[in-house]
Symmetry: C2
Subunit: 351 residues, 2 copies
């Protein structure tokens, strides 16, 4: 190792789900929407003017912030936007978790949390989910330097009732509590209305799932002015202009077409419940999902085997080779046709 | 202050140039291109498919990396891309500057460098430019934890000859040396060809200036595989997908239309030299510029006064209220018509 390499930060990066190319592939591995966004989104992007491309975007993305604030009936000063919810979560770790005490999050949850903690050298402690893969609020009543969890949780899909989420927030007035609501539109109860009651609560959301805009990279968050202003200061200490003009326009249009959004979510949740019933009949134990994916294990066949055999048939699902969940598969809800193809493939594999 | 606020990172953010709205405004304050990007860029963005929007972008933005690598005749493994050069520079501070020794950069340079150092708690030392506002390589031959400077430098516009840039790199084999070439296309000598000779050299560029794509937020960097891989690890520890599909497509198209790019740069450098001569006749001392802006002071009139009086006339330039340069103004080179309007306004103000 050369001397200059000694000062290079060494990290173990997060591994995103594969992004295979090819039109025959059925991609059920990264929880994207199987439906394209509203045509209004494409129109908004395609109608950009040359002026919009040559000039820097609005550093605060006010047009989008305003649209989000109005839709969710929240003051604009309590809204923050970023390059996907990952950008906001990563920035939040840097901004809010500067204590000597450990940050708490579930042992089974979004696997980026420990990556961010490692990146910034933040101490953390993983709190085990119950045997039923549920978050137990009682376990979050100990000294900590911050709390973060996904609700509904990933990759389990299980939602924690609002009263219990509030129990965790209320028990921790001295820490920032981040509730990652990436999947909230597909089920579960939001705690958005609690941001006025708890100044230490940050609610993080994304356009990548229910808003069908993963390709544009837009996330948003709600919190007290104290939290949002601190996030803004860090954002403006890192990169003045993060969301580009296409992202701002596209996301704004996605919010505007509310009917399209509601139909899309309805369709996906319906397909989810149908798929769940079918999988159960095939011998799967399927966890209750409030998301756009199912987390399941089979009574006789090995999860990794199923994952690999589906891949051979050009069907991509997600498998995590991690303690407690290494016999589960995560299946993103696709179109009805994609789910039928999945079921047919599974029938072929499992016999 | 509530207890949870004690663990919030406190930073003094970078203040970007104003982004005034309104069609009558002449905006010469953020070094954007006065010309729109090639129509190929807009076509590439407008032709995106619904599939591109609903699916995550390629996390490595390979299509764009490939285009850049081919254009600059560099191996793909030596290219990195990000959300503007700010994203890459900020990430580079986090990745490469982890020493107890101070990072060195000029006292007068891109004012984001000390903001990033403060954000990540990195020690730094500002090395004074000479009285002629030039970088003196001799002063960079001392113990350090890294070096970063802009060449051509901002806001001075002055380029350091290649031999002297190499002198700094060669003298510092134990540190990562970052050369920020945001303005290199308008003049100055690149050190791109030195990345094979010096494994500790990172060259950072942007699409925001000469490529007329500030609105899309794309930056790129060249370096040894050691440096690029370290940057990739940190990038994938922060956000898997940073460049959205529109940015990847738009930037790729911008590289492809080389003739447009060359004409645009020619036009701007010609206008720069003409404007410089005119300003000199009006009593301005104008520094030699190898960029798309001029840095100048007037023989009798106060810089801040000029800045404010131009603003009253809807002409925005940049004024930095900082030691050594508080009597200078920075003027972005616009179209010939915009420069004529500027000169007329100045004639009106200065008398």
């Amino acid at each position: 190792m050369k001397k200059f390499e000694e000062n290079i930060r060494r990290v173990e990066p997060y591994v995103p789900g594969e992004q295979p190319a090819g039109s025959n592939i059925i991609k059920l591995n990264t929880n994207e929407s199987p439906f394209a966004p509203s045509t209004m989104v494409q129109m908004a992007i395609a109608s950009m003017m040359p002026e919009d491309l040559r000039k820097y975007p609005d550093p605060e993305a006010k047009a989008l912030v305003k649209e989000i604030a109005s839709y969710y009936d929240v003051d604009e000063s309590k809204v923050f936007v970023g390059v996907g919810s990952d950008d906001i979560l990563g920035m939040s770790f840097l901004t809010f978790f500067n204590s000597d005490k450990p940050v708490l999050f579930p042992d089974i949850t979004y696997s980026f949390y420990d990556v961010w903690a490692e990146l910034y050298g933040i101490k953390y402690e993983k709190i085990p989910l119950t045997d039923e893969f549920e978050i137990d609020p009682k376990k979050y009543k100990k000294e900590n330097g911050g709390i973060v969890f996904a609700n509904p949780n990933a990759p389990t899909g299980i939602a924690l009732p609002k009263a219990q989420v509030e129990e965790i927030i209320a028990a921790n007035p001295d820490s920032v509590v981040i509730v990652d609501e990436a999947y909230i539109d597909f089920g579960g109860e939001t705690v958005l209305d609690l941001i006025d009651k708890y100044e230490n609560l940050l609610v993080v959301r994304t356009f990548s799932k229910s808003r069908a805009l993963a390709g544009m990279r837009v996330g948003y968050a709600f919190g007290s002015e104290t939290l949002i202003n601190a996030l803004k200061d860090v954002k403006f200490s890192y990169n003045s202009y993060t969301l580009n003009v296409a992202a701002i326009r596209g996301a704004k249009a996605a919010i505007k077409d509310d009917e399209y959004f509601r139909n899309l979510v309805d369709e996906i949740t319906k397909t989810r419940e149908e798929t769940k019933m079918t999988l159960k009949k095939m011998g799967f134990d399927v966890l209750p999902s409030a998301t756009n994916f199912l987390f399941a294990k089979h009574e006789s066949m090995d999860a990794k085997d199923i994952y690999e055999k589906l891949k051979e048939k050009d069907i991509y699902i997600r498998y995590f080779d991690k303690p407690r969940i290494d016999n589960y598969i995560r299946i993103t809800i696709g179109t009805k046709e994609q789910m039928n193809a999945l079921v047919m493939a599974l029938e072929d594999i499992i016999k």
